[in-house]
């Protein structure tokens, strides 16, 4: 039996995928797989009436209830949730921005360790996702495959013998599978090799999405690599393409770039990452972009052994916990942008100045 839940306690904890412990976790933050599924006897979401949505939500909820070992799964009614709470779940990567901003009946079921979540009434009736720490797609696939089997035992999916699992958008049809790996690539950015590396990936059916700044703009140096096609290949092959072929090549380039930076000027690099840590642990007010920028440097410093005593898991958590909705949940009240900047600085100081150990963050 799954249970209705609030999640005030989540603000003080972190999802397992942020531990920073899986394979290649100095470069790979997380491995995520999602499956898109639809019920056979309802229109897709865009053509659903309000009543249809309510009916889909109730049907799926009831079916989930019949799954025996879902004892601790939290069930959150997103329609009833405040905007700040929805934003919190987006920052947490448990729901998508799209479902947060949508209207009408919609929900999410989350396992207590935050390794999987099931969104109901997103673009498709069901979006199942599994997140693991580090480069761990094969075991993420195993987990999501089992989860999908359990749901399939209770729900009649829309499936076509030729086209596979039917989805609202034809770009997802077939397997309904999207594999995404989140990478931290600061050295490729510093050495200006990043575009070149990704250009070389263009012909192999993967999408690379970057979020970074130019010149004086701040940056987090994070990139997401995903499969582009979903039809005509087995799930295991799509997983292997990303995990065994594409991502290892990017990791190799990033490691080479890091080696180069260390050899070229270890002192400069050491100075740069130490200053970043200095700013983060002493600033009195700091924006979210600036925080991302310096945390990225510190993260690289930790992974290169230039900064000691700061676990990488702590840095990973700080990326999430310093975002606007998280700060406000932690404070238990709404904060304007300048108050958040002060609160963010206090929070960072607390966790980086050695007063608290990693365990206290949990």
């Amino acid at each position: 039996m799954i249970r209705d839940s609030d999640f005030d306690d989540l603000a003080h904890k972190s999802g397992e995928w942020l531990r920073g412990t899986g394979p290649e976790s100095d470069i790979v933050i997380s491995s995520r797989i999602r499956l898109a599924r639809n019920l056979a006897d309802f229109p897709f979401i865009r053509r659903c009436s309000d009543e249809d949505r309510v009916s889909i939500e109730r049907t799926i909820r009831a079916k989930m209830d019949s799954i025996d070992d879902w004892l601790d799964v939290r069930y959150i009614d997103l329609e009833q949730l405040s905007e700040i709470d929805r934003q919190f779940l987006v920052e947490r990567q448990l729901i998508s921005r799209e479902i947060a901003d949508a209207e009408g009946s919609r929900a999410v079921a989350i396992d207590p360790r935050e390794q999987y979540s099931v969104m109901i009434n997103e673009e498709d009736h069901l979006r199942i996702q599994v997140m693991h720490s580090g480069l761990d797609l094969k075991s993420a696939w195993q987990s999501i495959d089992e989860l999908d089997d359990k749901l399939e035992g209770a729900i009649l999916y829309a499936f076509h013998p030729q086209f596979g699992y039917l989805t609202a958008c034809p770009t997802n049809v077939g397997t309904g599978l999207r594999v995404s790996v989140m990478l931290h690539l600061p050295a490729l950015v510093i050495t200006r090799q990043i575009d070149k590396v990704f250009r070389s990936m263009q012909r192999i059916n993967v999408t690379v999405r970057g979020l970074y700044g130019e010149g004086s703009q701040y940056t987090g140096d994070f990139y997401q690599v995903s499969n582009q096609i979903t039809l005509g290949h087995r799930e295991q092959d799509l997983v292997a393409l990303v995990e065994d072929d594409v991502v290892p090549r990017i990791i190799e380039y990033e490691r080479k770039a890091r080696d180069f930076l260390v050899k070229q000027g270890q002192q400069d690099l050491h100075d740069d990452v130490s200053r970043a840590l200095g700013i983060l642990s002493t600033a009195k007010k700091i924006s979210s972009e600036e925080t991302m920028h310096y945390l990225s440097k510190v993260r690289m410093g930790v992974n290169l052994g230039l900064i000691e005593d700061v676990p990488v898991g702590t840095i990973n958590k700080l990326f999430i916990h310093t975002q606007p909705a998280h700060l406000q949940k932690l404070q238990g009240r709404l904060l304007g942008s300048s108050d958040r900047n002060v609160e963010r600085a206090t929070y960072l100081q607390c966790h980086l100045s050695g007063k608290l150990s990693d365990g206290d963050l949990n």
């Binding site: 056979a40 006897d41 309802f42 229109p43 897709f44 865009r46 053509r47 009543e51 998508s96 921005r97 799209e98 673009e123 999908d148 399939e152 009649l156 999916y157 829309a158 499936f159 076509h160 013998p161 030729q162 086209f163 596979g164 699992y165 039917l166 609202a168 958008c169 034809p170 770009t171 997802n172 049809v173 077939g174 397997t175 599978l177 999207r178 575009d195 990704f198 250009r199 263009q202 993967v206 999408t207 690379v208 999405r209 970057g210 979020l211 970074y212 700044g213 130019e214 703009q217 995903s226 499969n227 582009q228 096609i229 979903t230 039809l231 005509g232 290949h233 087995r234 799930e235 972009e289």
Partner: protein, 176 residues
Amino acid sequence: MKCQYCEKPATFHITELTEPGGPQVMHLCEEHARGFLQKEAATPAASIAGALAKQLDLGQTKQELAELDQKECPVCGISFFEFRNTGRLGCPFDYTHFSEDLIPLLINIHDSVEHCGKRPRRAAAADSHAELIQLRREMEEAVEREDYERASEIRDELHRIEEAGSTEIHASEEEE
């Protein structure tokens, strides 16, 4: 620098690396950047429009295109024109109803038209999607007017279709 889509300052500079014409830099405010980054992989509507445009260039006349745009699904009522504009289909039966029109698009996006991955143990036959959606609607209407006998008949009928589908899938597995 201003955001490409509004008057707010552009604080996010995002490079879309998989554009066919090489990397494309986008300058966006936080709100538009968030929307952009949340979208899955390729922007579906744009790639569908692009794929269709290519397809239509290859010989379909304006008149044929206009006729195709008018074509509507009898179950959900979506027109091909609406699908082209939103990039989203209306119901599972669209894959059967618009099957021929979708195939060139699927080849363009996936370079394939044949699913070869996981198959559910239970599934309704593809051509029964229309019937399933319609029967379920009828069942809800029956419940609303408190005609529980009719609702129960429809429920049995739905079960029958579901069962037939699962037998079919198992039969085809055995053939392999």
